[in-house]
Amino acid sequence: MKKCYFDHVATNPLHPDVLDAMMPYFREEFGNPLSVYEYGMKAKNAVETAREQVAGLVNAKPAEIIFTANGAEANNFALRGIALARQNEGKHILVSRMEHHSILNSARFLEKSGFTVTYLPVDRQGYVDPDTVKKMITKETTLISVIHASSEVGTIEPLKEIVKVAKEHNISVHTDAVATTGNIPVDVLDLGVDLLSMAAHQFYGPKGAGALYVKQGTRIVPLIYGGIQESGRRAGTENVPAIVGMGKAALLAKDELGSRMEYLRPMRDRLIDTMAGVERVYLTGDRNNRLPGHASFCVEYIEGEAMLLLLAAKGIFSASGSACSSKALKSSPVLLSMGIPTGLAQGSIVFSLGMGNTTEDMDYLVSEFPAVIKRLREISPFSQGWGDNQEGGTCTVKK
């Protein structure tokens, strides 16, 4: 059976060159970077080279990159680390409703710890309005966290404008750039953010390596206490092979960014254009200002899980909501925050394309997906409507 992987926001396959770069650090170069003899020095050098490579991808200084285990850790570290470091100046933070659970649940932890969190609303395309940010800032606000682009809807947020507002009030800005780093240009100086989270496996690197950019001069309370790794800001023996892999993946992503985007965009657009011709299927997120390989929809009268299963039976692998929401069978809070009705949000499906996808894969998808929708609607108890006057007309593409 043909197998087509369209879930690159969940994770990417490892680039073969990345695996080659990592292999020596599983075998002969197994040293601990803190050891003072040859094995340790080689491992240390490998970590520092990777730090330069990751810094190069986002236009940071190497010393501004702190390696973590993944994007979620980077997000936890940023939110808690800055909120705690600046708590004497104020205990109010702003977090958008588009955020990943690693931000939302960290925000909840902070609320339980005595902080006040204001959740920034988003419009129907998933945009955070910088003017709304301005209105929600108080004298107590020390941190704003807005995702660069949500993996669920792909819309790229107006970060520069949000940073501009924040800087007028001396507020730190963090962005979760897990979905964007290595996939679209990400430049920390151009964006102006103070902190930025990334994950290697989102740009053909390995799982087990992520990083947090922390602008020089920013104080941050550690999330993990212990030794002096990462300048005493993130303890624990480094995952050297994964960090080396992240560095190599960053180097490749920087070199190939333009060609990767040019490869993915036409395939994405073909899928979006095809689905615009299917009755009661709505694109979620902005039509153009979105991740280059990302197409997300809400399909009326069908549950996302049912689509996933039928598509998987045909060898087409996709997602509904975020990777974790898929398992939890919950309506996506991101889609609900965009004003999409609960019933329609249940019919969420996300296709995220990668460099392994071909034109033939897209031929297969655009022929099979509408057929799956048709088949499921034939057996859907809601095919004549929701019966509760819910309308699906809140999305961006209407039929």
Binding site: G217, R219, I220, V221, P222, G227, S231, G232
Partner: protein, 83 residues
């Protein structure tokens, strides 16, 4: 403990929230960059530094000038020795 104020440092290093023993590692690293007579200011919230930094100065021939306490962290002042 010696308390000082209005010391004019030549170099300042902010290691607030960085874990032990970064205060000694950064101290050593920064002192190498200084000329004899120049003053380093280290900001740290680690209270173990109250013992460690004067001890380090005594061992290495640098002069510990004192600390300036703020609500959130300490400022340590060290003058580079001639050896």
């Amino acid at each position: 403990m010696k308390f000082v104020s209005d010391v004019k440092p030549d170099v300042t290093t902010d290691i607030v929230y960085m874990m032990c023993p970064m205060h000694l590692m950064k101290l050593e690293e920064q002192m190498k960059e200084l000329a004899p007579g120049q003053i380093l200011e280290i900001m740290t919230d680690y209270d173990g530094a109250l013992e460690d930094i004067p001890d380090w100065c005594a061992k290495t021939g640098n002069e510990f000038l004192g600390i300036d306490e703020t609500p959130d962290f300490f400022k340590f002042y060290i003058k580079k020795g001639s050896r």
